[in-house]
């Protein structure tokens, strides 16, 4: 039986003067396998999953870091986050204006009078509202569907009572405890969907 010459130890196959048939076969097969592996692509869903997971991880870290900072209202926190995020967007006055408009729209929209008292007494739906994104309007859902590459997530904490603004029930005794939310924003800075994390 032919074996690889032990003298080839530490020498790559291609440059070995003593390579025999077995090592030649191995070198050729290795090259083919290398070429085959080079075709392996990261599945598109892996990128989405990773970006989402890392965004969550980064958000968790930011929350941890900010937990030592002086407490402020969640709306102030949102304003600060929006301004920080928009400061990192590509330059362009139209983009800046759209982002600013989106930020204002989100804050105004979140500040509208709520059905809080009414909804607070509604029975639970019996399912976890954190499990899915809720489109904030039909147009928003359409934007997500056709241009998902241009969306990004904004993590946020708000009082649990704010769930009522999204038509979700909450436990009044827990109204003041924070709930974690993620707003799906489009490229213009308009919130198109939201979900609440457990």
């Amino acid at each position: 039986m032919k074996t690889i010459d032990p003298n080839t130890f530490g020498v790559t196959f291609a440059d070995s003067a003593n390579c025999d048939a077995a090592s030649e076969t191995l070198a050729l097969s290795m090259a083919r396998l290398r070429a085959e592996l080079a075709q392996v692509k990261v599945p598109a869903h892996a990128l989405d999953r990773m970006l989402f997971a890392t965004e969550q991880a980064m958000a968790a870290r930011r929350r941890l870091e900010s937990s030592t900072a002086a407490p402020e209202s969640w709306l102030s926190d949102l304003r600060g986050r929006l301004s920080r995020v928009f400061a990192t967007q590509p330059p362009g006055w139209s983009m800046g204006l759209a982002s600013m408009a989106g930020a204002v729209a989100l804050i105004v929209w979140l500040g509208q009078p709520s059905r809080q008292a009414e909804l607070a007494t509604q029975p639970s739906r019996g399912q976890d509202p954190a499990a899915y994104f809720m489109p904030l309007d039909t147009a928003g859902a359409a934007i997500v569907a056709v241009d998902d590459t241009a969306t990004w997530l904004m993590p946020l904490e708000m009082p649990r009572a704010q769930l009522a603004r999204f038509g979700l029930p909450f436990d009044p005794s827990q109204a003041a405890t924070p709930v974690r939310a993620e707003f799906l924003m489009n490229a213009s800075g308009k919130p198109v969907a939201v979900r609440f994390l457990p």
Binding site: T3, A38, A46
Partner: protein, 202 residues
């Protein structure tokens, strides 16, 4: 892939890590686009399981996302490439996943050489049915690589498939250079035997 450019300045690998550790998700996404395929190939070649490989890939980048600024300084571009640093993290996650899935016996990824040589020959033997189905040397080699003891497999994957230098491969595998060389030699030897068996050279 073009370099990461910010405000007209090319950002080097060392600075990229600093930005990621500071919470810059754009830098992280850029790095993912640049290096994820190579990390995926490494994980796939080691684990021979697409799901495990994808999970290890994701865990690798999540690890980066949760680095503190101080931890971000753990990468020194003078000591090795950023890809090598990523593969080192991926290796850690892959090892944990393999252990969890009970697909690695406790002594299969030894710290030294003593155990590696005694790793199961039964694992190395090609399944005749499988070989019959994959009557091509590339596929046979793929299965032979997957059947190597992990210590040998890692050396072969890093040097022969990922085309890394011995020094970098040794750094990623966290073993001395000579240990890496020995593992590589033995791994190649076994692969050569498997291919010879497959192609009827013996």
């Amino acid at each position: 892939m073009s370099a990461f450019v910010d405000q007209g300045q090319v950002v080097g690998d060392g600075q990229i890590m600093g930005r990621i550790a500071a919470g810059d998700s754009q830098a992280l996404a850029w790095l993912f686009k640049r290096d994820s395929a190579r990390v995926m190939r490494y994980c796939l070649a080691i684990a021979h399981d697409e799901q495990l490989a994808a999970d290890a890939l994701q865990d690798t980048f999540i690890s980066l996302a949760t680095l503190t600024p101080a931890q971000g300084e753990g990468f020194d571009p003078n000591k090795g490439s950023l890809l090598g640093y990523l593969l080192g993290i991926a290796r850690h996650h892959l090892l944990a996943a393999l252990r969890k899935s009970s697909r690695m016996v406790s002594d299969e990824w030894p710290n030294g050489e003593a155990v590696a040589e005694t790793a199961s020959e039964a694992h190395f033997a090609l399944d005749p049915m499988r070989v019959e189905v994959t009557r091509q040397s590339t596929h046979a080699l793929m299965h032979a690589v997957a059947a190597l003891p992990l210590a040998f497999r890692e050396a072969v994957v890093l040097v022969d498939l990922q085309e890394m230098t011995y020094e970098e491969a040794a750094r990623i595998a966290n073993v001395p250079l000579n240990t890496l060389r020995t593992r590589l030699h033995r791994g190649r030897n076994r692969l050569g035997q498997a291919l010879a068996q497959f192609s009827g050279l013996d």
